[in-house]
Symmetry: D2
Subunit: 388 residues, 4 copies
Amino acid sequence: MSPETSGRKLRYAMVGGGRDAFIGAVHRKAIALDGQAELVAGALSGSPDKARASGRDLFLADDRNHGDWQALLDDESKRPEGERIDFVSIVTPNHVHYPVAQAFVDAGFHVVCDKPLVHTRDQADALVAAVARRGTVFGVTYNYTGYPMVRQAREMVRAGELGEIRKVVVEYNQGWLATRLEGEGNKQAAWRSDPARSGAAGAIGDIGSHAENLVATITGLEIESLCADLSALVPGRPLDDDGSLLLRFRGGGRGVLIASQVNTGLENDLRLRVSGTLGTLVWRQEQPSELVHFPHDGPKRIFTRGAPWLCESARRASRLPSGHPEGFIEAFANVYGGVVADIRARLAGQAADPLAADYPRVEDGARGVRFIERTVASAGSEQKWTAW
Amino acid sequence: MSPETSGRKLRYAMVGGGRDAFIGAVHRKAIALDGQAELVAGALSGSPDKARASGRDLFLADDRNHGDWQALLDDESKRPEGERIDFVSIVTPNHVHYPVAQAFVDAGFHVVCDKPLVHTRDQADALVAAVARRGTVFGVTYNYTGYPMVRQAREMVRAGELGEIRKVVVEYNQGWLATRLEGEGNKQAAWRSDPARSGAAGAIGDIGSHAENLVATITGLEIESLCADLSALVPGRPLDDDGSLLLRFRGGGRGVLIASQVNTGLENDLRLRVSGTLGTLVWRQEQPSELVHFPHDGPKRIFTRGAPWLCESARRASRLPSGHPEGFIEAFANVYGGVVADIRARLAGQAADPLAADYPRVEDGARGVRFIERTVASAGSEQKWTAW
Amino acid sequence: MSPETSGRKLRYAMVGGGRDAFIGAVHRKAIALDGQAELVAGALSGSPDKARASGRDLFLADDRNHGDWQALLDDESKRPEGERIDFVSIVTPNHVHYPVAQAFVDAGFHVVCDKPLVHTRDQADALVAAVARRGTVFGVTYNYTGYPMVRQAREMVRAGELGEIRKVVVEYNQGWLATRLEGEGNKQAAWRSDPARSGAAGAIGDIGSHAENLVATITGLEIESLCADLSALVPGRPLDDDGSLLLRFRGGGRGVLIASQVNTGLENDLRLRVSGTLGTLVWRQEQPSELVHFPHDGPKRIFTRGAPWLCESARRASRLPSGHPEGFIEAFANVYGGVVADIRARLAGQAADPLAADYPRVEDGARGVRFIERTVASAGSEQKWTAW
Amino acid sequence: MSPETSGRKLRYAMVGGGRDAFIGAVHRKAIALDGQAELVAGALSGSPDKARASGRDLFLADDRNHGDWQALLDDESKRPEGERIDFVSIVTPNHVHYPVAQAFVDAGFHVVCDKPLVHTRDQADALVAAVARRGTVFGVTYNYTGYPMVRQAREMVRAGELGEIRKVVVEYNQGWLATRLEGEGNKQAAWRSDPARSGAAGAIGDIGSHAENLVATITGLEIESLCADLSALVPGRPLDDDGSLLLRFRGGGRGVLIASQVNTGLENDLRLRVSGTLGTLVWRQEQPSELVHFPHDGPKRIFTRGAPWLCESARRASRLPSGHPEGFIEAFANVYGGVVADIRARLAGQAADPLAADYPRVEDGARGVRFIERTVASAGSEQKWTAW
């Protein structure tokens, strides 16, 4: 670590995530967990008054508690290096991601942005290009990739323990939108079911994109073509709240992806099953510290977080001994841990340790945008298969 | 019970199910369990020598231990009423179902036949017509419908506890055909992967048809159109070993059906999730005595077999107190229990108690044949939706 | 197989198990399952009228449907070998076990008797001596030992896979006696809570003895001393409905045994955990097809019934492929299968295959009686440890 | 909130928890999670050099990074109110708890101390008296009480949903001390198995005390007498690594408490079952977001964290929507949340909201010390029951 960066926490700002928001607080807790970065500035809401009130809740200094993100960007751009933020975290509704991310990247700031990255493939391409041009760090919080057992699964597939992958079934089932919450003043439901803010897709964008990312992260498979059925099963909803896809992967594997927010009573049931010639892996987000392995030649094995026989990537993603449950925030913190490691390496003028700087990048975000766009195209087509 | 039938066990014959067979022994154990019927005759194999050897294993009298099913039929047709079988159980490979079933029905015998019922819709229609004409009992061993908790689920849906059904996901995953067992002398694998014996479908016919039946039994929903992707993922296999379908039900519900025999390491993972406006039900065949209910307005509930608060249909399908595990054979026995109750009622000249004579009928079998035929048609089509 | 025994089912009689009984029907179903023996005679109740009515329900011939067990014994003793029963199954309330068992053994009959074997150590010793004298087969239906995964656990311990056993925790928890059912006309509750019929112990005799047997079967450990606390937690009950014991095994291992029938809502929660220097095994009766193994040097493994890598004893105890649930009756049938194999071997004048003739013997039953007697002694003592 | 305390984070110091320590980092992460307090000072090790190096790792200012706790106390005592710490967190090995806690309380500081509180009942009594005298806040990190579902269980018992409690079984099983780690340089194992540092008990003090606290917290029952068997099952270990207790509660309830660190392969298996006249509750720490309820009159229910039908105390203890796993650190943070709420109330001159200031107190710690002392006494006695 260089003299500049050792001995201090990184500084970050947040855009979005004020009062009534959900995911902003998760980002902050995740960052706080490891004590490696501290919130020093923000533009915490699209409404200036709410933004400032939210900043006071978080003990922000008045001069870094802004009413809008442009003011934040201006202010940080002018500050000297020893004060300036090391990165910005963008946790707004989807439609605000693009302008903020583009502006901060263009100004040379490192960025963490929530998913789905942006609304259109053009925006995604522009952002990828900008990050490449400026050489900045850009993390996308596909937070489920931060779970140690997801990393273990990825490593087992890479090491060939499943052989050739034949079948992937991924589901992301929730029940919270089984009624028209968006008509009852629920802010989270309202923006997610509004095409102007959420984008062209509802459930498929909000949670289906996590499912797509999980498959890509763990298996490395590329979708060749897909066949989607998207529906708004709750009457009056303008965007899909339920979607099912048949997938064909390059190389011959087959898949099914299900994302639904109308499974009454289900909570956050993201689950994956990957079968190959030599074995099957099963992972469930609601029991994240277990990874079930069905080898072809012996009894089912359950890998648990914290065990010494896990791969290094999984071991590093763990903070507590086995049996002491970790959860959603720790996984989120692992994504941030990767971003922080990458930024610290750059501040120190060093190459990042790939095992440390392990986080979803802007390209993952762009692929997710393409997934949504292709899915929506397929859903509107009479043809069975829509090419990637 | 009439004087003729009380005080005696029913008599049955079996066609198929000799040495090396799998499912025949299950049928026999299921029938034996309740002591209501006894095996008195058989043509237990397509090979006369093996048939007779198998009959001797089962303590059959020599004069009722036949080398082929035609001889069995001839013999039983000639016997006096007090000796003649009350029903025949057909447990051969698929391609033999039709001729045997048709001949016994035409001769006025009650029949139990394994699934899938027959190879073609024409055969199915002919059989349905013959059963109607002769007025015989005809049961199809969709054995999973015999589980008490499947009956409980059916009752909860009928009673409106899930509200309007929106989404159904059914999976039947096995791993035993993940290698080319059919090339290694495995008899079960050999006939199932041979189109001449298995029919136009592999996994979809063998296990997908159970999944279809489970959905129809529990939800009562009718498929309006479907979109199938069938694959032979093990190289060199002439029939599908993996299939995934998108389903649209009349009335607007959506569904996914997955059947695969190449999920390395998985055993007999039939599972169903049904979500409606008021709740979700989940059932897994490998843990058959539990039915998980997610109501919209309270905590998840787990119904278990044997509890006094189950519906009468579920309670009657149970032999042991709760916590004393029942399994596959008991479910199978419940199908036979329904058939036996129906036959005993007819022998007594009475109408059967519907709760007792609860078993899948020839029409269910015919619908299953149509499901296979429509799925194979869809798999060969470039169009997204194939109408039922 | 000798000419006499091949080609025929064994014949058995039952004492007890008539209308309103619970366990008798389980014995009959278990025997029927494999088609190796048939019920030909009985004295199915202590009340002659009920005995005969029960026999008619089971299609017994009138001349072998007796009003009391002495008549049954007399009749069978007089019948020629080709008609006479091969064994008798005693499924009465506990207090009737001893006179019936002693009389049939003395007359040279093979016997299967339910547990707990008898009321007193003197009775147990007399029975052990009689069996030794007459050289008869005597099985005790500690049915839980018939589960394939219990046999797998026993084999893994014997093979040293757990190293030296240090700690055993066994629990048998039920809830059905959480209210005074015996005051509400429940026959099962009535005799179990009546010292004259149940013996000196309630829950400890009824279910604690199963727990003791399970520990002994799987671990082979011998209790050196014990410390018991027995209570009647439901007011007005004359026998214990809850008991907890500290155990010290010869060689230094430690244990805890819990048996309770007042755990409201619990069903039949028999569970065992055995920890040794090299690993831990966990088994639960309510999910009997799984055996969980925690090795010291790798991830948790779950052995499932029907897998090819199980020991031969477990594989033989299984009738269906993995994933097709087996349950309580199959485990029971495995005990009978052992008895039948032993009887068939004797009829054939051969030594029994030890893997086939695998069933709890009269000595196991006698040890169970001693366990109950020592536990009751400890419960009445102010001293911490009561020697075995 | 008063002007003094709103708008700022609380300040805290830590004693212990430096490099190589385990639990100190957990305390820091737990405090950081909610952003309500920040570490400003410390004496992070008993070794001055290691203490200071550890403080630099945590970005402590040099003048508040002390080599020993006396220096920390002196320094903080002299600082003006606006700088001085609001509380100290004591996370040293057990033998250091007492002198540090006593000194800080005597100086009027609020304290959080790890468990077991101190070594002897005299120390415990002195500490309770000091806290009463000074009127300070004193929290003990019985962290498992911080889990939302533990609070739900406590509330359900208090509300009478279980009726009268009859039986409690609590187990805390680990496997990490199944070998003599203390002889292999493992610091955590070394001090825990050293009577001088750990106290009179090993496993019973380290984890048995958590079990005792969990029972007391959830059920409110008081132990009347106990009967303990403590063993060092790993040869050469001077303190118990395995213990089992029979418990009798005032009012007639019965219990079993098991604590063992030699269950090879088990991780952190703390579990509780409480049965009353109206129902049973089961909770397992390794799946902390589920609370299983067996009511006497309906199916098993599984309460999950985050549901709207939980009690207010459970709802407040939760940060994320249901299905987004929380874990060990969140539970720990809930204990600190209670302490912080109590301190903030005092700073504001107000009475604390009891639902907010919900944390284990010095009296709970003292009761835990008594439990250890009574258990060790019983283990050395030949008498069955040792009075509380």
